[in-house]
């Protein structure tokens, strides 16, 4: 997902201009006060989002990745009501509540209830699929462009000690505090609230006691989604704009706030949200607006590593294993005969001799490169069970490493590519290293955060990466002086790289080392007890996996001759994971089949191109529901 636009412009510069009229101390205090109000207002939004995520995590043990999309839908529904239908604000609120409540119930039905007996990570992946679908539906209906949301509120501002607070600030604060209070009373004093808390603590026991667990879950999703939708609408009014990509950042920040307060802890989520808002607000005034998103990711990673139970939880450990299990359904791989592989490889090799259409060749080249990304992801996620949602970050490191090595040091591509791959392996492993103590879902969240942090670094380290401008005029890929000028050459180079990567990975996976990785995936407790040093084998798998990712990034950058911080976004990570699931976890041939299918099918059925992400989201949803072992099965 392309990085969301900056959420707010800080009010500091205007104040700094007036510095002459104010003493330094007063100036500082005023800025401080202003940033505090700013932070608390945004913090209330984060709190609303985080509370929803906390409720859902509480009852369903599920990190709901679709929550950001619900928030975005809420913003759009509010916008349609106010600007297109001309409804008064309270009526718009009512519509948002109804629509988002129903949406929440739908998500529970599709993402949770039907997957109760699947692998533990299945619901999480399903919510990712749902978020793809929702984001794409909104984009198709209202275009990608931001829509202006003129405030339906009076423009009055109330002066308080030299600064002023607007009506929207008050509305947001009132909604935040009000919903927290109502929620508290609901959970504490109503029968349904008790049922909800009982279900959160022990689903089976609650069911035995006659609680209709499905109804409770549905209620929880509805309540959570209503809060999310309201938050989205308020943000739309606050920043006078709504846009489809606001969903991803919102979901992630809500999650960071939730984690800060302790996963599933509702009062903790409120405090976490306010705290995150304040940290961001102060941080932005200290470091600049481009750093805004970094704080949430930094908090995400730091809390996961230092205090996974959150700031306000007395528990001494992370919740005890509600989140066991990687996405490894029990299945036998479907054998693919060697002659079939040889035939397919031969056909791929000879294809450019018979097909001259550059469009076809470009699409297939993309498919080969995505196959490598899928191979890289399937090694970590499928073979060793370390679910990664942040592989795009490693691809980006490879691309930048190779770009800088060729441009700044003047190295030839033949040397720069392996050097970039090795650099990515070193850097990538170092980045993931602190997350080695995490298990299951937490690994997925940490890698997601790491991927985002890489992009934030690229954006902010101007001296190294040229910041927003990116790096252009990269020389085309060339090996031993043979430049890939024609598309055929690029095609063959990409195919050759894929061949090398696949062969190396094949040898690794079928070696005793691969066996050790799979033991670590299937049961890490038993694996340790049989002498497997988890850290050593996690290091080895991430080094091998990021090596391939880095190689892919290096080639891709030179192929396009231009890269910037938006070249390798989170979408690539998720798409790669979808390919891996489609092909079968840890299945090398499956990874290539999945990549070729997902890249080329939408392109070759032209009708589908516009609906591409819709197709990806639906593919993910259907696979998880009906064929979790993928086309070719788990290896």
């Amino acid at each position: 997902m392309p990085c969301a636009r900056q959420l707010s412009t800080t009010r500091t510069p205007r104040l700094l201009l007036e510095r002459t009229q104010w003493g330094f101390m007063e100036d500082f205090l005023r800025t401080f006060f202003d940033q505090t109000v700013n932070g608390l207002v945004i913090g209330n939004i984060y709190a609303l989002t985080a509370v929803g995520l906390a409720i859902i995590f509480g009852v369903g043990n599920l990190i709901n990745f679709a929550h950001g999309s619900v928030y975005m839908v809420g913003a759009y529904v509010g916008w349609v009501c106010v600007t297109r239908l001309g409804l008064p604000l309270p009526a718009a609120f009512g519509v948002v509540i109804v629509v988002c409540g129903l949406l929440g119930m739908l998500i529970e039905r599709m993402g949770l209830r039907s997957l109760q007996n699947s692998a533990r990570i299945a619901p999480l992946l399903a919510t990712i699929g749902i978020s793809f679908v929702l984001d794409q539906l909104i984009q198709l209906t209202f275009t990608r462009a931001p829509q202006s949301f003129p405030s339906p509120l009076p423009n009055t501002r109330f002066p308080i000690g030299g600064v002023s607070i607007g009506v929207i600030d008050l509305l947001i604060a009132a909604t935040g505090i009000g919903s927290a209070a109502v929620l508290y009373l609901f959970l504490r004093y109503t029968k349904l609230g008790w049922a909800l808390r009982a279900t959160a603590q022990d689903r089976d026991a609650a069911q035995q006691m006659g609680v209709n667990v499905n109804a409770v879950n549905q209620t929880a999703f509805a309540v959570a989604s209503i809060l999310g939708g309201i938050a989205g609408m308020l943000v739309g009014i606050y920043f006078s704009t709504v846009y489809p990509t606001m969903s991803f950042q919102a979901g992630l920040k809500g999650f960071a706030a939730n984690l800060l307060g302790g996963l599933g802890n509702v009062p903790g989520a409120v405090l976490g949200g306010l705290l995150l808002g304040l940290i961001e607000s102060y941080g932005v005034s200290l470091f600049g607006a481009t750093y805004r998103n970094l704080f949430a990711y930094a908090i995400l990673i730091l809390v996961l590593l230092l205090r996974p139970q959150g700031l306000f939880s007395r528990q001494r450990q992370a919740p005890p294993e509600p989140l066991t299990g990687t996405f490894v359904p029990n299945s036998k791989p479907i054998p693919v005969p060697p002659w079939a592989i040889a035939t397919a490889a031969g056909a791929a090799l000879l294809l450019p001799l018979f097909v001259a259409n550059p469009y076809v060749l470009q699409v297939l080249t993309n498919a080969w490169l995505f196959s490598m990304i899928a191979l890289s992801i399937t090694l970590a996620t499928g073979t060793a069970g370390q679910t990664s949602l942040g592989h795009a970050g490693f691809v980006a490191i490879g691309a930048y490493a190779s770009a800088l090595l060729t441009q700044r040091l003047g190295l030839p591509f033949t040397v720069a590519l392996p050097a970039a791959a090795i650099l990515t392996a070193l850097l990538g492993t170092l980045l993931v290293l602190p997350a080695f103590r995490l298990r299951a879902h937490y690994v997925a969240i940490a890698t997601l955060g790491i991927g985002e942090i890489v992009n934030q670094m690229i954006l902010n380290w101007d001296w190294l990466t040229n910041g927003v401008m990116g790096i252009s005029n990269l020389p085309p890929p060339s090996f031993f002086g043979r430049e890939a000028v024609r598309i055929q050459d690029v095609y063959w180079y990409a195919l050759a790289l894929l061949g090398i990567a696949a062969l190396l990975q094949w040898r690794l996976v079928h070696s005793p080392l691969g066996r050790t990785w799979r033991a670590l995936r299937d049961d890490d407790i038993a694996a340790q007890s049989y002498g497997i040093n988890l850290n050593r084998y996690k290091t080895l798998v991430f080094a091998s996996s990021t090596l391939i990712a880095g190689m892919t990034g290096a080639f891709t950058g030179h192929m396009y001759s231009y890269i910037n911080h938006e070249s390798f976004t989170n979408t690539i990570s998720i798409l790669g994971l979808t390919m891996v699931i489609l092909g079968g976890m840890g299945n090398l041939i499956g990874a290539v089949v999945g990549a070729v299918a997902l890249i080329s099918l939408p392109e070759f059925f032209r009708v589908l191109v516009d609906y591409r992400y819709l197709v990806y989201g639906l593919t993910l949803l259907l696979l998880i529901r009906f064929r979790p072992q993928g086309l070719l099965g788990t290896v």
Partner: protein, 291 residues
């Protein structure tokens, strides 16, 4: 004779609850010792401490006079301690043969420690291009795995390439024992190896443990089927509420008033009266079955 394994005042405190309370005992080479006691007595927690999966709050564990406490879990296996799990933890998506080979993991050349970083590169390269020595080692380990699996007769051998998730419950327990043996342990810890097994299967396990005893393996056994305990053990240790309440020859322990109280909740009414409830497994001497 110096003990092989020595526990000194081992304790484990879970937020105020002493799950294991100053337990000390010794295990001599070639002995079979059983650990019995009511549910919740702390037997499995003690197993977790001895195998390094959990760290004691106080006390030490010594193997051959060397301190084990403080090592990482995976280092316990290298020192020669292997276990099975109470509920069975096989690697579901891996074949029977592969599961056993994992047991031999810490003996593999490529898995040995070396210089930091270099050891990792070495293991990667040996996986990509195995040296003749490494290839020969792998072949040898496979041969050994087959020999171990043949101890179970025709139970597992015909299923070598089947994934472990497809095995029956009893076969998974067997596979776990085979995997533990593959590490060539000095001490084998078996956590309720016959749980959920029918009489015939229990008898098979008994015969299997007899084979291990004949090979002079040191065994620490948690077991609820007391007939099995009586038949196999050189010594029995009884735990209750985290404490060791009795230790001695099977016959002596069975008459210990503390033990009777721990099981029945009140002292034995009469020394010659029924020692345990009617269906007690203590009464049936020499049989291998439960009832």
């Amino acid at each position: 004779m110096a003990p092989l394994l020595e526990l000194n005042a081992l304790s484990r405190n879970f937020g105020g609850v002493l799950a294991v309370d100053h337990v000390s005992f010794e295990l001599h080479a070639g002995e079979t010792v059983s650990l019995i006691g009511p549910n919740g007595a702390g037997k499995t927690t003690l197993f977790n401490l001895i195998t390094g999966l959990d760290q004691p709050s106080s006390g030490t564990i010594l193997l051959d006079g060397r301190v084990l406490t403080g090592l990482r879990v995976d280092q316990f296996v290298e020192r020669g301690i292997a276990r099975t799990f109470q509920h069975g933890r096989v690697f579901g998506n891996m074949s029977v043969l592969e599961n056993v080979l994992i047991g031999a993991h810490s003996r593999r050349q490529a898995a040995q420690r070396g210089l930091p970083f270099i050891e990792l590169v070495r293991e990667l390269l040996l996986a990509l291009w195995p040296s003749p020595a490494v290839a020969a080692e792998e072949a040898r380990l496979r041969q050994q795995a087959l020999e171990i699996l043949s101890l179970f007769g025709e139970r597992l051998l015909p299923r070598l390439q089947q994934p472990a998730y497809s095995l029956s419950y009893a076969n998974r327990r067997r596979l776990e024992m085979a995997r533990a043996l593959a590490s060539q342990p000095r001490i084998l810890l078996l956590d309720e190896p016959t749980a959920g097994m029918n009489p015939t299967e229990t008898a098979e396990v008994l015969a299997f443990i007899r084979t291990l005893q004949a090979r002079n393996l040191t065994i620490l056994l948690i077991e609820h089927k007391l007939s099995l305990v009586m038949e196999l053990s050189d010594r029995v240790i009884v735990m209750d509420n985290g404490q060791k309440i009795a230790e001695g020859k099977p016959h002596d322990v069975r008459n210990d008033p503390n033990v009777v109280e721990a099981y029945l909740g009140h002292p034995a009414p009469h020394p010659n009266g029924p020692r345990f409830s009617a269906d007690t497994q203590f009464q049936s001497k020499g049989t291998t079955t439960n009832r």
